[in-house]
């Protein structure tokens, strides 16, 4: 099962190209990005941000607001996006959109969404999140989302998986107030590297990890497969501009109790990177 997102906006640039992209298999390893216009020109072809503001389930009144010209930005991953903003008289952005140069909406953030209100149940939050996606004509992710509460906001997250293997951090994320008002949407789909050989077993991965880790390290739980970003110097710095690699993710604790996670190439069992807690 894959919850790979693909965004459809009927008013977006080049609907035929986008439809073709949406029809691509969701397990495609490295999404193709075909641009027929230079990125700097794409902003002019995106739907007006005022139209998106009006399409929200809780529409944003544009009275007194100003739409800034679209701007080409580069993310840490190297991905280029067109950012559009709707700002008030003080220049504060009340609505921010980021789209690919091909016209796919990837990020929406509202400011000034109130806290409080009647708290929705998990099932109601899931339904509400889907309604927000429908209102924006975004593709509906499949599967059961993870619903969590963070700083009095609610996060509904459909994590992307490819052939049943999770891609942590990728997928569709909807942030709402406790009462279901939309705060933001993010859709991420990283490129994935091809498999580098025959998959090694969890037991082999655990044994390899133990030879790498210092004496006294205790491994906890079962190794899990996941698509991870390489770490610079096999360390904690995610190289987000490189395709993700299939890895065994193994958690444990150093001798002093500090939690850590190592990432070993799923086929070669070489150290790809690590993560740990503060």
């Amino acid at each position: 099962m894959s919850s790979s997102p693909c965004i459809r906006r009927t008013t977006a640039l080049l609907p035929l190209l986008i439809a073709a992209a949406c029809a691509a298999p969701s397990s495609a390893l490295a999404p193709e990005r075909t641009y027929v216009v230079p990125a700097r020109d794409a902003a002019a072809n995106l739907p007006p941000i005022t139209g998106v503001a009006a399409a929200l389930l809780e529409p944003l009144s544009t009275v007194g607001l100003r739409a800034e010209p679209g701007e080409l930005i580069a993310l840490e991953s190297g991905e280029e996006r067109i950012e559009q903003r709707l700002v008030d008289v003080n220049g504060l952005a009340l609505l921010t959109l980021q789209s690919t140069p091909g016209g796919e909406l990837r990020f929406l953030a509202r400011a000034d969404v109130a806290y409080g209100g009647a708290a929705l149940s998990g099932a109601a939050l899931r339904s509400r999140a889907l309604l927000h996606l429908v209102a924006l004509r975004l593709a509906l992710p499949r599967g059961t989302p993870i619903i969590s509460s963070v700083a009095e906001r609610r996060m509904v997250q459909w994590e992307r998986s490819v052939n049943g293997i999770p891609v942590p951090g990728d997928g569709t994320r909807v942030i709402m107030s406790a009462s279901g008002a939309l705060v933001g949407i993010a859709i991420e789909e990283s490129a994935l590297a091809p498999a580098s050989g025959k998959l090694r077993s969890a037991a082999e991965a655990k044994a390899a990890a133990l030879t790498l880790l210092p004496t006294g390290t205790v491994l906890t739980g079962v190794p899990r497969l996941g698509w991870v970003h390489l770490g610079a110097l096999a360390g904690d710095e995610e190289l987000r501009d490189a395709p993700r690699r299939l890895a065994w993710r193994i958690r444990g604790a150093l001798a002093d109790g500090r939690p850590l996670e190592v990432h070993l190439d799923a086929a070669q069992l070489a150290l790809l990177g690590w993560d740990w807690a503060r």
Binding site: R110, I146, G235, W276, A277
Partner: protein, 243 residues
């Protein structure tokens, strides 16, 4: 005892004469070889991102990353600060003087383990008579929990003043429970980016929630005023367009 009095005097002296500055502190030693078996670039990257954003907001930034981040330097920097960023180990440490737990963080001091701590009562003493911090970002484990004593020590009540509500000229960010470093980097990169783009503190926090970290690896929390642009007291709220 004498050291403590001298330190308090030095801190008081700095507090009365120095203009509000932003203090950025990051522990590098404990997170790198030879203390551990791997290399971590996160402390330097996180401190650099915080410093750049704070400078963009108009603060004069004093940064101590690595062994220079000692207990004395930390307290001297925190005492007069208007904004503060700390990346290190954090916990609810035992306060021997009060015979109970208090909240804080470890300094670097070039130590692998058991580096000295800075805990809430020391900060309260150092900041006696100083206005509450405008922005405090405590990038450690546990100091976003409701039982943390750091917000109060920095003069920030653990209340949320949401959009449109009048509130204090303060904003505090911390993490509950254990915070994993890859998630920290994603969250904070997005937070500071939004701040540089002119967002209010609350809107920057909301934007950072969208940053693609694993929710199981990080539980951010905030208190203060959603609408705050955390500029130095004398400056006008500006809106930067640079990324």
């Amino acid at each position: 005892m004498l050291t403590g009095l001298l330190l308090a005097a030095a801190v008081a002296s700095v507090a009365t004469v120095a203009p509000p500055t932003a203090t950025v502190l990051a522990n590098r030693t404990a997170f790198n070889q030879p203390c551990v078996w791997f290399t971590s670039t996160a402390p330097d990257r996180l401190a650099a991102a915080a410093s750049a954003a704070l400078e963009r907001l108009g603060w004069t930034v004093a940064s101590s990353v690595g062994p220079r981040f000692t207990q004395e330097i930390a307290l001297r920097g925190i005492a007069p600060a208007g904004a503060l960023y700390v990346h290190s180990h954090g916990d609810h440490y035992y306060d021997a003087a009060a015979k109970r737990r208090s909240s804080g963080f470890r300094v670097d001091a070039g130590r692998c383990e058991n580096a000295p701590t800075v805990i809430a009562p020391q900060i309260t003493q150092a900041r006696s008579g100083v206005a509450p911090l405008t922005l405090a970002f405590i990038s450690t484990c546990y100091n976003g929990e409701r039982i943390s004593k750091l917000p109060a020590a920095l003069g920030i009540a653990m209340k949320k003043s949401g959009p449109g509500a009048a509130g204090p000229r303060s904003f505090y960010v911390g993490y509950s429970g254990v915070a994993w470093v890859r998630a920290i980097v994603r969250f904070e990169t997005a937070f500071w980016r939004a701040m540089r783009r002119g967002a209010t503190s609350g809107a920057a926090f909301d934007a950072a929630l969208l940053s693609g970290y694993s929710a199981a690896d990080l539980l951010p929390e905030w208190w203060g005023s959603y609408n705050l642009r955390p500029t130095p007291p004398a400056s006008q709220p500006g809106v930067s367009r640079s990324v």
